[in-house]
């Protein structure tokens, strides 16, 4: 099982919950997102563009590591790990 932690803005797409647990989601971050998208497409469409890339101002962390500095969406995710979705600290 992999746990997705959500920012407030995405909670409406998870019935108001701050986290979503997904069974059989280990593999890569991309594979975990595909599994998440099967039940929560609204979350995934706000994290990835139509081209399947992480949106410019969204960060994904596996544990405490930002996947931009690992292997991006190919970053491995192990059983029991947490993926945290974080809006970038940017903008005006």
């Amino acid at each position: 099982m992999v746990t997705f932690e959500l920012p407030n803005a995405l909670m409406p797409f998870a019935r108001g919950l701050g986290e979503v647990r997904v069974e059989d989601a280990r593999g890569t971050v991309r594979e975990a997102l595909v599994r998440l998208g099967a039940t929560h497409p609204g979350i995934v469409e706000r994290v990835l563009t139509e081209q399947g890339e992480v949106r410019e101002h969204v960060n994904l962390f596996v544990g405490e590591e930002n996947i931009r500095f690992l292997k991006g969406l190919a970053t491995p995710v192990a059983e029991g790990e947490t993926i945290t979705i974080v809006p970038a600290v940017s903008g005006g």
């Binding site: 609204g42 469409e45 706000r46 563009t49 139509e50 890339e53 969204v58």
Partner: protein, 401 residues
């Protein structure tokens, strides 16, 4: 008065007050959300949308919002076809993408679509940045709307704006690899359907220029003959112009007025040819342009000093109006700052209502919202402290009165 009598009196007063309050609430509840003749200004800003309302006198305004706080709203529309009273807003989260939302109760509640209701096909190689324009279709097809988006493309909806599909003829246009972004991005911002011919439509893009279809969107031809591209080595290319806005009057649909990135133009043949009409304006650079709803020769613009210095020419905020189809332009200044103005009005931030005595409105990058209830002859401020305004759309509830 005894203590008991005073207590009784107090109790009675309290009861009366409660009844009065309930009566007032009940009256308010029974009152329609908006009355025919009310004017709505749909104001999109970089930090949310506002619904600004007045009765037909247009002397007192009520500002409601922000809706979608923190999200930018570059396109809004009011759609009264098919018996509905629907507001549409294109919202863009800085983080999580863009959707089109609707409200059928004048903004009290909005849809919050779980899925992105407007998006490019996966095999297009494109991803939606934002929606720049929402245009309701003809009265006899109330489900039909169009949306112009960034990167340059056109979408259509057949269910009143709930779901959208891409117009393939523009998506797969052979010029697409050569369209380049303007300062605002690669946006399709102007949509002009022909009210007399369902197969014809003109769109305008920054940067790409004017394109027209005569076959219902299957094919699109550039229509920029006479429109200059100041910023290119070839000043008159077939396409690639940075057109900022086009307007027309439905009663004479083939006559188009165009505000260019340098240049003011008129076409009398649906864009086949364009003639310069920058007669007596302080600058022919600008963004905003608005057609008078009842007079096919009256057009409003707000000139800007230059592309390098996007501010009011000579620090005077002036709306210019032609009443003769572009032969001459007159400044409208009463009530507007005539010194020290650095204001800028963007392409969709100038609008008009459809009352007999037309109301004209505009919003600035600095968050000032101005109104004129006399066709631009004099102006007053509705607000000078909204967030940066990027679109203003006016509508009269129940149509013009």
């Amino acid at each position: 008065m005894t203590k008991a009598e005073a207590r009784e009196r107090k109790k009675k007063e309290k009861k009366e007050k409660k009844q009065k309050k309930e009566k007032k609430a009940k009256k308010k509840e029974g009152k329609p959300a908006a009355e025919n003749g009310d004017v709505l200004l749909l104001v999109g800003t970089v930090k949310g949308a506002f619904v600004v309302r007045s009765d037909k006198k247009r002397s007192k305004w009520k500002i409601e919002g922000p809706h979608f706080p923190g999200e930018s709203v570059y396109a809004m529309a009011y759609d009264e076809r098919g018996g509905r009273q629907r507001l549409l807003a294109a919202t863009r989260s800085f983080f999580f993408g863009s959707v089109i939302r609707t409200s059928d109760d004048f903004g009290k509640t909005w849809t919050a679509p779980e899925r992105q209701n407007i998006k490019f096909p996966e095999d297009s190689g494109l991803s939606l940045v934002q929606v720049w324009q929402i245009t309701p279709g003809p009265a006899d097809d109330p489900g039909l709307l169009w949306a112009g988006v960034e990167p340059h493309c056109l979408f259509e909806s057949h269910d009143g704006g709930d779901s959208w599909t891409v117009v393939e003829g523009l998506l797969k246009h052979e010029h697409r690899p050569k369209w380049t972004p303007g300062n605002g991005g690669l946006c399709l911002h102007t949509i002009i359907p022909d009210p007399e011919n369902r197969e014809r439509m003109v769109v305008a893009m920054s940067t790409g220029g004017v394109y027209r279809t005569d076959d219902g969107g299957k094919s699109w031809k550039p229509r920029n003959n006479g429109v200059r591209a100041q910023f290119l080595p070839d000043k008159h290319p077939e396409f690639g112009q940075c057109v900022h806005k086009i307007v027309h009057h439905p009663a004479r649909p083939g006559t188009l007025f165009l505000q260019n990135h340098w240049g003011l133009y008129r076409s009398d043949d649906w864009g086949d040819t364009w003639k310069d009409i920058a007669n007596g304006v302080p600058s022919d650079f600008g963004f905003a342009m608005q057609m008078h709803p009842h007079d096919k020769d009256t057009v409003y613009i707000v000139p800007v000093e230059s592309d390098g210095f996007r501010a009011a020419p000579e620090r005077k905020l002036r709306v210019y109006r032609t009443r003769n189809g572009g032969k001459s332009w007159k400044p409208l200044t009463e009530g507007l700052p005539q010194e020290g103005s650095y204001d800028l009005v963007l392409r969709d931030a100038l609008t008009a209502d459809s009352h007999d005595k037309v109301g004209v409105y505009f919003g600035t990058r600095a968050g000032k919202l101005f109104a004129s209830a006399n066709e631009g002859s004099s102006w007053s401020s509705i607000s000078d402290s909204l967030p940066s305004i990027v679109c203003v759309k006016a509508a009269v509830v129940g149509g013009a009165t």
